[in-house]
C-alpha cells in the first residue's frame, strides 16, 4: 500500500506533493512520485531534472517519508499513472488540478479527469 502522486512541475505541484506527504505519513506508507514524460518533443519542461528529483527525495526524507520517483516515457500520461498505481497497489492517488479555460480543455483533454474516473482506489485532487 502506497500513495501515488501524479507529478507535473506546475503551479499546483508543490501543494499536491505536500498533500501526498501528509497522507503518506498519516497512513504510514511511502510516496511513489510518477513523473510521466509524454515523449512528444526532444526536450520537455514537464520532466523533472536530476536535481529536481533529488530535491523531492530530500523533502520526503525531511518529512520522514520514503519518496521514490518514477519517470516513465509514455504518450498516455493518465494511463501511465494508473498503471503505476495498480503496480504499487496504491491506497490513494494524489493529483494536482488547475483551473483551465474552455479552449484549453477542448484542446488538451484532462489528465486529472481520466485519473479520477478510471482509478480503482481513492483519488485526492489538490488545487494549487
Amino acid at each position: 500500500m502506497t500513495v501515488v502522486l501524479a507529478h507535473v512541475p506546475n503551479e499546483s505541484a508543490d501543494a499536491a506533493f505536500d498533500a501526498a506527504l501528509e497522507q503518506a505519513r498519516f497512513r504510514g506508507t511511502g510516496v511513489v512520485v510518477v513523473n510521466v514524460a509524454p515523449g512528444d518533443a526532444p526536450v520537455d519542461d514537464r520532466i523533472v531534472p536530476e536535481d529536481g528529483v533529488a530535491a523531492l527525495t530530500r523533502r520526503g526524507a525531511d518529512a520522514g517519508v520514503e519518496v521514490t520517483v518514477e519517470q516513465p516515457v509514455d504518450g498516455d500520461v493518465a494511463g501511465a499513472v494508473l498503471d503505476s498505481a495498480k503496480r504499487h497497489d496504491a491506497a490513494l492517488v494524489v493529483v494536482g488540478v488547475r483551473r483551465r479555460s474552455a479552449v484549453g480543455k477542448l484542446l488538451m483533454g484532462s489528465v486529472a479527469q481520466r485519473i479520477i474516473l478510471d482509478a480503482d482506489c481513492q483519488v485526492l485532487g489538490v488545487k494549487g
Partner: protein, 502 residues
C-alpha cells in the same frame, strides 16, 4: 604566389554581399535543422538541398550548401553540450565531456571551447585545402581507370571499417548501395536495367530521395518507436569567454585535433566520422589527468570538436580534385554540383577557379559567421527542441516530399522516399548502418565504369589492378583497413574508448 592569388580571388567571390548573405542564411538554416536529434548533417543537407536549386548562380548555391553543412555540424555540438542530445555521431564524442562541463556550470566555457576549436581548425584546414588541392588535382589527372577503381574500393573499405556493427553487414550495405546505383540506363550499352519498363526509372534511383528516405524517414520511424525525451533544464550559460589558463589548456588539444582531423578528412570513406573519436582517444592517452575524461575534461571537448571541423573542411579535397566524395555529405555536394551543371573533378579547379576558390574562402567565412551567429543565438536554437514531434515530423515529411519532387517534377522520386524509408527502418533496426549504403550508391557507377574501362584496356586481365603500382598500393591500404576492422583485438579497442565512461 599562386596561393595568394587564388585565395584573393576566392575572397573576392565569397565576400560579394549576396554570397555572404547566402552563407549566413545557410549557416542559420543548417544550425536550426542540425540541432534536431537524429537529423545530422547528411539529412539536413538532403532536406535543404532543393532550396538551392532555384538559384541562378551555382557559386551562391554551393556556398549556401557549405554554410548549411557547417551550421548543421555546430548545431549538433550545441545540443550535445547543453542537453546531452547529440544530433549525429560525430558530436556524440562532444557530448561525453561537454555535457559534464555543463552540469558543473561550465556550459559557457564548453560552448566557447567548441566554437574556438572549430574556428581555429577550420582556418588551418582551409589553408591545408588551399595548398593541397591544386597539386592533388595534377596527380589526379595522371590517374587511369585502374587507379580510379582502386581508389573507390579504398574509399568503400574505409567506410566499412568505420561503420558500427558487424563488418559483413556494412559490406552488405555497400553492395546494396552499389546495386541501387545500377538501376537505370547502362551508360555503355544503353540497356535499361531494373526499370520494370517504367519510363520514370530510366534515369535511375534518385539520390535525394534515397538520402531523405534512409536518413530522414527512417529516423522519424525510429523515433516513433522509441521517443527520445530529455528534461528541458538548461544549464545556465555564463562566463562565455575562457580565461588565459583555460586558453592555454585548450591550445594543445586544438592543435592536435586540427592535425588529426585534417589528415583523416582527406581519407575517402568517412574519415570525418573517425576523427573526433581518434582525437578523444589520443587526448585521453596524452593527458596527465586521464581520470578527468568523462567528468568534464576541457581537452575532451576541444580536441574532438577541432578534429571534427578540420575533417569537415579537408573532406572537400577528394571531392574537388578526384570527384570522389569522402562521405555521404560530400556525396550530396556532388549531387548539387551536377544539378548546377558542373562536373566535379580535377578540371573544375582550372575551368571554374572563381567557383572553387570562392567555395574554399566561403568555408572560412562560414566559420566566422558560425561563431558570430551561434554564441548569441544559443537560446533560440535550444528552443527549436521544444517543438513537439507532432509538428516536427509532418513538417519534415512535407519538406522532403516537396524538395524531392521539385528536383525533377517526378512523382516516382517521391514514392522512392517511402520505399527507402521503410527499407532503411527495417535494416537499421536490425543493426545495419545507412551511411555505407549511400556511399556505395554514389560510388557504384564510378566503380563500374572504371572497372569496365580498365578491363577493356588490359584485354580482360584482372591482374592490371595489382601490377600498376599506385593501384596496388591503394588496394593494399584498403585491404589493411578491412583487416583492421575484422581483427577482434582492434574491435574491442574501438568499443573500449567509450565503455569506460560509464
Amino acid at each position: 604566389m599562386d596561393l595568394v592569388n587564388n585565395l584573393s580571388l576566392g575572397l573576392e567571390t565569397a565576400l560579394q554581399w549576396q554570397n555572404v548573405l547566402f552563407c549566413l542564411v545557410g549557416v542559420a538554416l543548417g544550425t536550426a535543422v542540425g540541432v534536431l536529434p537524429g537529423i545530422g548533417p547528411t539529412a539536413t543537407i538532403a532536406l535543404l538541398l532543393p532550396v538551392t536549386f532555384n538559384f541562378d548562380s551555382p557559386t551562391s548555391a554551393l556556398i549556401m550548401l557549405a554554410g548549411i553543412y557547417y551550421g548543421a555540424q555546430y548545431g549538433g555540438s550545441t545540443t550535445a553540450i547543453l542537453i546531452n542530445l547529440p544530433g549525429e555521431s560525430s558530436s556524440a564524442v562532444t557530448a561525453i565531456d561537454g555535457n559534464q562541463m555543463a552540469k558543473k556550470g561550465q556550459a559557457g566555457l564548453a560552448l566557447a571551447t567548441a566554437a574556438i576549436g572549430s574556428f581555429v581548425a577550420g582556418t588551418v584546414a582551409t589553408l591545408v585545402l588551399a595548398v593541397a588541392a591544386p597539386p592533388l588535382a595534377k596527380v589526379a589527372l595522371t590517374f587511369g581507370a585502374a587507379e580510379y577503381f582502386s581508389l573507390v574500393v579504398l574509399g568503400l573499405m574505409i567506410s566499412v571499417t568505420l561503420a558500427r556493427g558487424s563488418v559483413p553487414k556494412a559490406l552488405a550495405m555497400v553492395s546494396l548501395g552499389i546495386l541501387l546505383g545500377t538501376v537505370g540506363q547502362d551508360l555503355n550499352t544503353g540497356t535499361p536495367r531494373f526499370t520494370f519498363d517504367v519510363r520514370e526509372l530510366f534515369e535511375g534511383v534518385n539520390f535525394v530521395a534515397l538520402a531523405v528516405g534512409i536518413f530522414g524517414i527512417t529516423e522519424i520511424l525510429r523515433n516513433l518507436r522509441d521517443p527520445q525525451t530529455r528534461d528541458a533544464k538548461l544549464h545556465e550559460v555564463h562566463s562565455l569567454w575562457p580565461r588565459g589558463k583555460e586558453l592555454r589548456a585548450m591550445s594543445g588539444p586544438i592543435a592536435r585535433g586540427t592535425g588529426l582531423g585534417s589528415l583523416m578528412g582527406i581519407l575517402p570513406g568517412g574519415g570525418h566520422i573517425l576523427a573526433p573519436f581518434a582525437s578523444y582517444a589520443a587526448e585521453k592517452k596524452l593527458s596527465r589527468h586521464p581520470e578527468q575524461f568523462g567528468h568534464g575534461a576541457l581537452a575532451g571537448v576541444a580536441g574532438p570538436e577541432s578534429a571534427n571541423n578540420a575533417a569537415a573542411q579537408t573532406s572537400f579535397i577528394p571531392l574537388l580534385t578526384l570527384a570522389i566524395p569522402a562521405n555521404p555529405v560530400m556525396a550530396l555536394m556532388i549531387g548539387a554540383f551536377i544539378i548546377q551543371g558542373i562536373t566535379p573533378g580535377p578540371n573544375v579547379i582550372n575551368e571554374q577557379p572563381a567557383l572553387v576558390w570562392g567555395l574554399i574562402a566561403s568555408m572560412w567565412i562560414g566559420n566566422v559567421l558560425l561563431v558570430a551567429l551561434n554564441l548569441p543565438l544559443i537560446g533560440l536554437w535550444v528552443r527549436m527542441l521544444k517543438v513537439p514531434y507532432w509538428v516536427m515530423f509532418p513538417t519534415i515529411v512535407v519538406l522532403a516530399s516537396i524538395g524531392t519532387y521539385s528536383v525533377s517534377n517526378n512523382p516516382w522520386h517521391v514514392f522512392m522516399i517511402a520505399a527507402f524509408g521503410l527499407l532503411g527502418f527495417v535494416l537499421v533496426q536490425c543493426g545495419c548502418e545507412p551511411a555505407p549504403l549511400l556511399l556505395g550508391f554514389v560510388l557504384g557507377p564510378l566503380l563500374e565504369e572504371n572497372l569496365r574501362r580498365a578491363m577493356l584496356i588490359s584485354q580482360g586481365d584482372p591482374s592490371t589492378f595489382v601490377t600498376r603500382p599506385i593501384s596496388a598500393g591503394l588496394l593494399a591500404v584498403g585491404a589493411l583497413a578491412l583487416l583492421v576492422a575484422v581483427l577482434p583485438a582492434m574491435r574491442k579497442k574501438r568499443e573500449k574508448v567509450f565503455v569506460e565512461e560509464d
